[in-house]
Amino acid sequence: MITTTHIKELLNTCMQCGTCTASCPNAFAMDMPPRKLWRLVLMDRTEDIFNSTTFSLCSTCYYCTLRCPRGLPLTRIMSLLKEQAFKAKTPGYKKGTAFYGSFMESVRRHGRVRETEFMTLYFMAMKNPLLPFEFAGIGLKLMRKNKVAIQFPSGPDDSNLDRLFKKVKEIEDLKEAGNAQEQYE
């Protein structure tokens, strides 16, 4: 279930000055400016937040965090929203979920990301036969330089991080259960 209570707490002192919006290199492409997004979080407008593309366009340049006169961790808040969208598999964040999920799957299996395996997993998750063509140009350039080779996804090897991933999940699940309990009480 999507929750933004922990994110709202971080935004309590936002005074809606808009320095974040003015500093954001991607604001021109967003359907609502970052300043407005914070307001929606403060107003618990969950549906509007996750119907918007704004958080998915954050490219983590940290200009808003650097310049926020209240010192709010705004870039971190963007990633907390991405995390919620990822966990709830919201339809508007499908590309992000597939992209980051494929990346982390390669890391879980081998400890390090294998660039072509990760991209293959991404294409498989997106189930769009035309998507690979978007990457044909850069892919060919890298192959010509012998920097990447065609690599079929392979199962976990000795360097896998299974135990660590499982432990992190366990700690997070416990925390979530604790939070739910707190709200109930």
Binding site: A29, K82, Y100, E134
Partner: protein, 287 residues
């Protein structure tokens, strides 16, 4: 001088020349790099979008492994995204006790823990402040006199933490480029965002950022970078983003240690210049 070396995943693949040039340059400067065996991915920007805790635990594992190495020295990181992720652990564990405990709890499954006794340093910081422009200038037997170089810092080696440079108006590359005998190209995009992984998932947006940076670099002979993500975005899509501008946006883009190595008379082979995606013949001829 000895450093514990954390290359990160890109330096094994699409940024193999950044790794090669860094190792060769450091050897030439008599700096010892100690590899971390069994290092893992830092999580890039992918981990934090999936699980906040994982985005701390992944880089933390590398710090814990680095701390176990007998040799002294700071942790040297050439990739800006890796640098920030490792730095994030060092900073946040001190101010967030709950988080610090959770990191320790997770690392315990691999019998690891963090003491926090090693500093995390970016390659640019080490080149500028530990080695210094004076030492590079002394060794610059092949001054790159004819070249105008645009220094590109990007984001994650500068922000959000107060670090080794001004986060809005960075200057650490200036004396290094001048020590190479080259001229610093004045421009406004030194600390702009390259669009990062948006080049993969939102190319119509990130492409605009890349285009603006390349437009601003017109007139320079090369852009110099200190991050594999920035490098790939600026070198790999020049023709695609130039569409509709009626401008030729092709420009040489190389890594900072490559520039310094070339000025110090190291060969183009040693600097792995054949691996970069955008190096003009005129640039190689001018060396």
């Amino acid at each position: 001088m000895t450093y514990i070396y954390y290359p990160g995943c890109s330096l094994e693949g699409s940024a193999v020349e950044y790794d090669g040039a860094t190792r060769a340059l450091m050897a030439e400067l008599e700096v010892q790099l100690v590899d971390i065996k069994d290092w893992n991915c830092c999580g890039a920007t992918a981990a934090e979008s999936m699980s906040q805790l994982l985005s701390f635990v992944l880089p933390a594992r590398n710090i814990a492994l680095a701390e176990k190495i007998k040799e002294g020295g700071d942790i040297l990181v050439p990739c800006s995204a890796c640098y920030l992720n490792l730095q994030k652990v060092m900073k946040e564990r001190l101010v967030d006790e709950k988080l610090s405990n959770q990191i320790d709890e997770a690392l315990a499954v691999e019998d690891l823990r963090i003491n926090g006794n090693r500093k995390v340093r970016h390659l640019l910081d080490v080149l500028a402040h530990d080695i210094g422009a004076a030492r590079i200038s002394e060794r610059a037997v092949n001054p790159l006199k004819e070249l105008k170089i645009a220094p590109y810092y990007g984001c994650q080696c500068l922000r959000p933490y107060a670090g080794f440079d001004d986060p809005e108006d960075p200057v650490t590359m200036t004396p290094l480029i001048e020590a190479c005998g080259a001229t610093v190209f004045p421009w406004n995009s030194a600390a702009s965002c390259c669009g990062a992984s948006g080049m993969n998932t939102k190319r119509e947006v990130a492409g605009e950022l890349v285009k603006n940076i390349l437009l601003d670099a017109r007139g320079a002979d090369a852009i110099v970078t200190v991050c594999p993500m920035c490098q790939m975005n600026l070198e790999g899509f020049q023709k695609a983003v130039a569409r509709g501008t009626h401008e030729d946006l092709s420009i040489t883009v190389i890594y900072l240690p490559q520039l310094i190595g070339l000025a110090m008379g190291m060969s183009t082979e040693a600097m792995m210049m054949d691996k970069n995606l955008a190096v003009a013949t005129s640039f190689i001829d001018a060396l």
